[in-house]
Symmetry: C2
């Protein structure tokens, strides 16, 4: 419990760099947790106090702007594996002050270098050559992705220890299980899982850089456009290796321009006109997709899916290793990312619980990377948030409560839907609930193991069960479009599997007593036990027993009906 | 004759603005002619002497650079037809000094405005709005094409006389014939035709502007690229309304970069690689074609013809009214444009003769806008140049003579072909030949009416007939690739038609005596007579007579052979 209270929770806030507080230390009163371990190294101790304050003040959009600006001052450099880090930094600092840098591996060694000034990039570009390959031809598009090579590979690279690589993917499953078994208690197992799976500061920076590189391509024709990450990359629930959702905002499409008031004339640009915003979106995405495909270094497997409800371009960005989805102007999606970010930032138990439940669901095939009738990560997150709203006292507020806290500037009506909620974290009172994650995880399984999915819907706006508006097996209200079910795709079989597994896991958590959770126990315990694939089998057995029982019940009812009919 | 000698010939050289010299005036010794009537208005008298000198010094490439630079400072503005020119200029001069402007009509009233500084465009763009159209959507690509509207159309535009429009197309055929009939003599008829058909200074500027607008699109991704006009737009033989051939030069494709020598590393851009320069060309043209199609205001009917020998993108540029062909890196084509420019600049009789012959060929269906077995304008021009090389004394030098005059910097070897010739006009001694255009036109028809097309080829490099390397009905050596026949497409029927018409026209010119060439004569005379469609019919009749005669000759020969065979 002590270590649970001893953390502050602010996922990936730049400049936030304090370590976990000592158990029972001065943070005790705050009941919030921090797990961004990667930060600890990058911020010098003397800056901690200040950045803690300023980071806490920052809203989601301030953070987005700050990170985007940072990304525009950043370059990506493919280096020899045996690079001398010191010489490398010395060489680059001829072009300007370096704020930050790190190395990672992705089809070679890459360095992310953040300059202090944008001008440094132009200076570097001035000395950069177009590659010349015998019998091949290059498309001379000049981006911020460079290849650095040694003038004298033999002497320069001799016996050099390789640089430290920052991880860009999650730990192997068996290693994770081992780590979990070494934890003190179930609650810390959940934190350990989150620490291993969540996006690192470096990976988040890389995501903003990838967006910024695509933004360069879009800005060639639309200088007012921006490309920003949304979804799991920024909503604080993303795990390492998750897809990178990019949003292209053209800034001006369909918006009424300001009339300037000089002289007797109006001047307008002559522009192509199309009958629908959708057509404009499709055309622009199509051309930008072609530019990415034909010019963008390292962009592979570009697929244009322009006739989808939300037209998109998919591609794999090899230098950063991200699978990217580029869409146009979807402001509601950005608001949704912000809402999750707020929930994730209010109390660290939120993210720890959601990470663990998602991991558990993935192991047992409740969620899937293939579209289909499976429950999605987004639906699971909504279920977890709903569960946390229903605790006594609640751990997080309902969306309606967040809306009540909103300022005038928080007001957002998008396509007629009210997307208003408070953006300022300071306005939201911390919870007084002190339940452990062990309790919460167990109760989550118990709650949904017994949830009346057949008649009730889940709605984080209200924070209470409602009657289902239709007969969908699983009904979760879209937080901003209340009439939409975000889990319309889910079929009855999947709901039943989820319920059976939840019951099985609740049973396992309660069954295993404290004695089993000691270190060096050979059998996996706690969360690790729940992540064993064998559970699915036993839950299925239980399900079969349930099915048999319900069959028997049905025949009983039928016979009763027959008997009563005979009597009439 | 006097008026023939009284002109100086420098087609469309910026800053050249003197009117025709008086007959027998001070220009008499120069035996060259000027017809750029449009210039006279735009250059103030005191600048004439200087610009005459500087313009004469300018080479083709200096001119291209100067005009391209001019075009980059120029904007295109769609105005209300009843615009007040003074108010318009006053309004625009808020953004900077205006060097030049003019109006023309093309689906509305357009103004071409050349600022003195490039920055003025940015200033104008600052006050320019994105158009907002109810129920339509615009592609927010910001170009240098604007729409200007009156804030108060009723009071501002009331009873205003419309501005002066510069012509962008040739005179109607019947009007041309009338004008020709009003000329003093046949020679002046040829000059009149050239004056009416040739590109004006304004139209040439508009062509460079159209290229510059496409260059903006290309430079978005390839900042070192240029888009330049080539072919008839700049070779001094273009007529109003001719297609605009554009050449995209990416600057770097396939060229070895310079190695910069700083520190222990090399830095290169990471770039897409393709196996062939052709593939690179196709990809780049394809994407730029899509950009023009989807973003470029006023670009219509974009067609990508990427599998042609020389991949190209065709489109119609509505604001300028040009039909454009965009190709990539064809340096030989640029050299060819320069060669024609030099020939056209050496002696005004060259252009006057070529314009008249082309017009004559078009009227009689010898050339056609549809590809096929017709003789092309380029072939006709080569024939005329060849004819002028064969006069005594020659009016223009052979290509080998021009090569002999070349400097080290004139040396151009393109794909193994020698494209070397002197670029500096001052090095080429003016001709001493003083024949009139009347004589030249007549002799042209006579010469080619009797040319041994069956055994001889035409080669402007040598300036003399050669044995045909193959049996093509018409063989004209490509000036730079001597082994290629530029008229390979032409079939025997077309050559026969050309010969028959040439003979008929030579006969008409000789038959009509001076008395017929008086003013107010009802029957067309001289060149006008040659442009009557009825000639084709009578030439055909002559051809029939010829055919009959040759048939008779053949039977005679056959009978002789039979007789001799009998004797053996």
């Amino acid at each position: 419990m002590a270590s649970l209270l001893g953390r502050l929770c602010l996922p990936h806030v730049p400049g936030v760099g304090w370590a976990r507080c000592a158990p029972g230390g001065p943070c005790l009163s705050q009941a919030r947790l921090c797990s961004a371990g990667a930060f600890v190294q990058s911020v010098p101790p003397q800056e901690e106090a200040d950045s803690k304050v300023s980071a806490q003040k920052k809203t989601f959009s301030e953070l987005q702007v700050e990170r985007s600006e940072q990304a525009q001052r950043t370059v990506l450099i493919n280096c020899p594996a045996n690079i001398n880090e010191k010489a490398f930094l010395k060489y680059l600092s001829h072009h300007g002050k370096i704020n930050d840098h790190y190395f990672y591996e992705s089809l070679g060694t890459y360095a992310v270098v953040e300059f202090s000034e944008k001008e440094s990039i132009a200076s570097l570009q001035d000395v950069t050559r177009t590659p010349y390959v015998e019998k091949e031809c290059t498309i001379p598009f000049k981006s911020r992705i460079f290849t650095l090579s040694l003038k004298n590979p033999v002497t320069q690279g001799a016996d050099r220890p390789s640089v430290h690589y920052h991880k860009q993917s999650t730990i192997l499953c068996k290693d994770l299980l081992q780590k979990l078994c070494r934890a003190d208690n179930v609650s810390n197992q959940l934190y350990t899982l989150m620490d291993e799976c969540q996006l690192t500061e470096e990976n988040t920076k890389l995501r903003f850089l990838a967006c910024s590189l695509i933004q360069d391509i879009a800005r060639a024709y639309f200088p007012d456009s921006t490309v920003q990450p949304f979804g799991s990359s920024v909503n604080s629930f993303g795990k390492l290796g998750c897809d990178l959702d990019m949003l292209l905002d053209l800034g001006e499409i369909g918006r009424s321009p300001i009339r300037t008031n000089t002289g007797p004339f109006y001047v307008e640009y002559q522009m192509k006109k199309v009958p629908l915003e959708r057509t404009a979106t499709q055309r622009i995405l199509s051309v930008i997709g072609d530019c990415i495909d034909n010019f963008g270094p390292g962009a592979m497997g570009v697929q244009k899916i322009l006739n989808a409800r939300c037209p998109l371009v998919k591609f794999s960005h090899q230098p950063t290793g991200f699978q990217c989805d580029l869409t146009v102007s979807n402001r509601a999606a950005i608001r949704c990312s912000e809402l999750l970010y707020i929930y994730g930032s209010l109390d660290s138990r939120v993210r720890a619980l959601v990470f663990s439940i998602r991991c558990w669901a993935r192991v047992h095939g409740i969620t899937s990377s293939i579209p289909g009738s499976w429950i999605t990560n987004f639906s699971l997150t909504m279920m977890a948030l709903f569960f946390l709203q229903k605790r006594t006292p609640p751990i997080i507020p309902t969306l309606d409560q967040l809306k009540a806290l909103a300022d005038a500037e928080d007001k957002h009506i998008i396509n007629g839907n009210d997307c208003t909620f408070a953006s300022n974290l300071k306005k939201i009172k911390p919870t007084e609930n002190t339940e452990t994650l062990h309790v919460l995880l167990n109760d989550f399984f118990e709650y949904f193991g017994n949830f009346a999915f057949n008649k009730n819907s889940i709605n984080i706006r209200k924070g209470k069960e409602q009657n289902k508006p239709d007969s969908s097996p699983l009904y979760i209200h879209n937080p901003f479009e209340q009439g939409l079910n975000i889990s319309k795709n889910v079929n009855q079989i999947q709901v039943e599997r989820f319920v059976a597994l939840a019951r099985e896991c609740s049973w396992i958590l309660q069954k295993k007593d404290k004695s089993q959770s000691s270190l060096c126990n050979k059998k996996p315990w706690g969360l690790a036990a729940l992540l064993q694939p064998s559970i699915a089998k036993s839950s299925l057995k239980n399900k079969k027993q349930l099915a048999l029982a319900s069959e028997r019940m049905q025949s009983l009812l039928d016979s009763l009906k027959i008997n009563s009919a005979k009597r009439e």
